[in-house]
Subunit: 267 residues, 4 copies
């Protein structure tokens, strides 16, 4: 028996240049489309009449990008969702994910890859729902972070510390009451950056909650925010063996294993 | 307010060598641990007394691997789940994921990286649940696959075909009634490989359902199986422009965009 | 002033299916082309009349693959080199690199990704020169390897060992007197695999030399072979802290930092 | 017979925090060490007495980072080179490569990953030579670039254009007369960014030469600069099929295949 299923097109790489009188605007997007519906005939009988080709989905993304102003990722996502709900003969739900690579302006027409994380917008329908997100936002603080007072058992060897490096790659996702992504995304990102650095962090968990609170305090339209925070450990390198001290100066940064702290802060 | 949350250690890379009289056995594993529980004090008040350090989780993985025979990934996962349920002072649920890299034997003591996909075992508790999976299993068929009769709209340009290359990277996951992973994993993998090649495929969806059926037919203990199948498109290269035909011989393989077909087959 | 320069097309992904009476043959290739010549007008004056477009190079790869039997990567590479030497109006040298992904046969028309490393063929002209290579060949031995007697200074903390895991990802490259790649590649690969496991290794350096000698002993047409061998360290995990011994059983595998041993063995 | 050979440690990940009165400075480095010398006894006889362990090299990097001010990557590299020339009993040449990940300051003690490319410093000895480099510098211009007047043959299908997107990931490397890396690196990077955008580009080759000239004009201490410029093609998506024009607005960005243009500009 066929259970839950969906299909679509992923990694549609779309760049739109909007030519103003003196300067150009650039949007560098990766679009994923996924459709749900009654696709049983295709799965069981090999009857494709109910399927929109994923190649058609790709074409649709580029065609709609031509006429849509693309002034808001969420609005563009909603236009795609509405189109796919109409276009797929048996489609009952459509999900669009748009990731935007950051570019920072050099001149009126030239750009370099920016920092500050990848922006993500998710739209699904028929009842339109909007989520936004940040990915690949690397942050690090050189002090103002510790890890102490934790539970110890027979396998615990880690010493306590009141001063360590805290480094993480923020992935965040939040829901909007409405499609306000375009105006608030940079504000949420900046709030995350500020609140990451503005407090003493006794744990990644505490910082997660603190950043979530800061976002909810500032943005009334956000109901809840979810964070996924890998703890990119920076280990104090043991220099005593060489007759040297190490007053939180020399660290070995590691990629694996890593702690992974995930949680939601909500109203 | 703190919502759902969890934390743990990821990418714990464990290699265990079991030394038989004449030959060595090798298990090359990557273990992820995630715990749920009452961690509110840590998030809100900075009180870590309820938290087991993720470094302790790592130590625990290596320590338990020493005494556990590791004859079954599922049994090892269950031992870890039980340990973490006891060890975390406020833990209410534990999730362990174990991925195994394949090695194929060269001699009694030497190995080369094998093929056939990465094996995955997932165990969670307190009520023990077992899932198994395959990742990174690349398969391709040079014929016996088509794509025709699909819905067409004004954005559809793709021609129909009755003979194409079908290539995908299988990700599968299935649930067991009990911890029978060790004995059935290779059987499921082989069934996927066989059923991928044994039929005419009118769509990736049909092949997904066909492979799922083959697994359920053969393994009574499996209740449902989920597949995620990226369609790694191989496009016929247009050679007519150069006065050459192309009878399904010369293809341009692409990585993006790609179709993504996902679905569950269940009893 | 313009110094040395070259240009070309990289990552041309070509799949050729050769349809025999009962079974299909598959070659899954990635081709890189680089041309040298008198390109100064393009660099300095913006005069492109001497440049073959890299898009044309791509087309040429697919077109020549149609008529060439592709029974030998080296022969196909030589055909491309000769074509580009004629086609580029000012070209004086052409370099073609072909990497082949391994597939292993499941049925007459279906395949799974194989193991045993990526095959590489390099051809350059006008005076045709052939090199072959292996990449991504992961090998590991669970014993028969040590590291002792090395020089110690004030920064040396590593204990000596007579029994460790040795793991590496072999990259090899060798020159042929003639285009004998098709017949000898698998033989060289097998010789590397055999000689990796057949001796006690006091160092990666010794194993490098030993494998090189084995290849030169067996293949008279090979003048020299170069290896690049990252030492993928597997560290014995310290279990004494938990009251457990660790008789070379439980290892922590690491990706960074890694030793890198490179050298050539020649006649 | 043993030919050319070298060995060392790669991917030593070093983070140094320098604590000023009010703000912290951060250097996030990846160090590679490679040594040349008389290592024949190790290769041929298994005699390791002439080898410094690569683990010792790692320790040395961390130990020297403690006492060295690390105010200049080139000076730190030279200190490492000099140390390894003394420490390796038979070492005749040492090569140190240091890559620095960019961070941009958020507060006195917190940082986010910056943009502008990875800085690279290479130092070798005994006669000290310095090279510097940029990697991963993504730049794009939305106009002011074309590709026309190129040589056409029977495999040429690409239309000419006087207005396209030009995108590349700059890798550059240059030699200094002396260790002036610390003061000039950002200047070279900024010159590359400026000169990328300040001219009409008839080809990547022309832009390569133009950027090289700009660097040599501004920095008298640089003798030559080498660029490796992948042409990350942005293809105009064909919208005519859907009754839409496409006045250089909607592009499909691709990763493969890509043009690769490499060259040196020198005095």
């Amino acid at each position: 028996m066929l259970g839950a299923n969906r299909y679509g097109k992923s990694d549609v790489r779309l760049v739109k240049v909007t030519r103003g009188e003196t300067t150009h605007e650039l949007r560098d997007l990766v679009v994923d489309v996924a459709l749900e519906g009654d696709f049983e005939a295709a799965h069981v009988e090999g009857d494709n009449t109910g399927l929109l080709a994923t190649d058609t989905m790709r074409n649709t993304v580029y065609a709609l990008a031509r006429t849509h102003p693309l002034d808001s990722l969420e609005a563009f996502g909603a236009a795609l969702v509405e189109r796919f709900l109409r276009a797929g003969p048996t489609v009952t739900a459509a999900h669009v994910r748009i990731a935007e690579h950051p570019w920072s302006r050099l001149t009126a027409h030239s750009f370099q890859r920016g920092s500050g994380g990848t922006r993500v917008a998710l739209v699904s329908g028929p009842e339109l729902r909007y989520e936004a997100g940040i990915e690949d936002l690397l942050v690090l603080k050189t002090t103002g972070s510790g890890w102490a007072g934790f539970h110890r058992d027979e396998y615990t060897t880690l010493p306590e510390t009141g001063d360590r490096i805290l480094a993480t790659i923020v992935t965040a996702r939040w829901e909007y009451a409405r499609a306000s992504g375009e105006s608030t995304w940079a504000g949420v990102r900046d709030t995350v950056l500020e609140s990451f650095g503005d407090h003493y962090s006794p744990s990644v968990q505490f910082t997660l909650h603190h950043m979530g609170q800061a976002v909810l305090d500032r943005f009334a339209e956000i109901e809840r925010i979810h964070f996924s925070l890998p703890n990119r450990h920076h280990l104090l390198f043991d220099l005593e063996r060489f007759g040297l001290d190490n007053p939180n100066a020399i660290f070995h940064s590691t990629t694996e294993p890593y702690g992974l702290i995930e949680g939601t802060v909500e109203r």
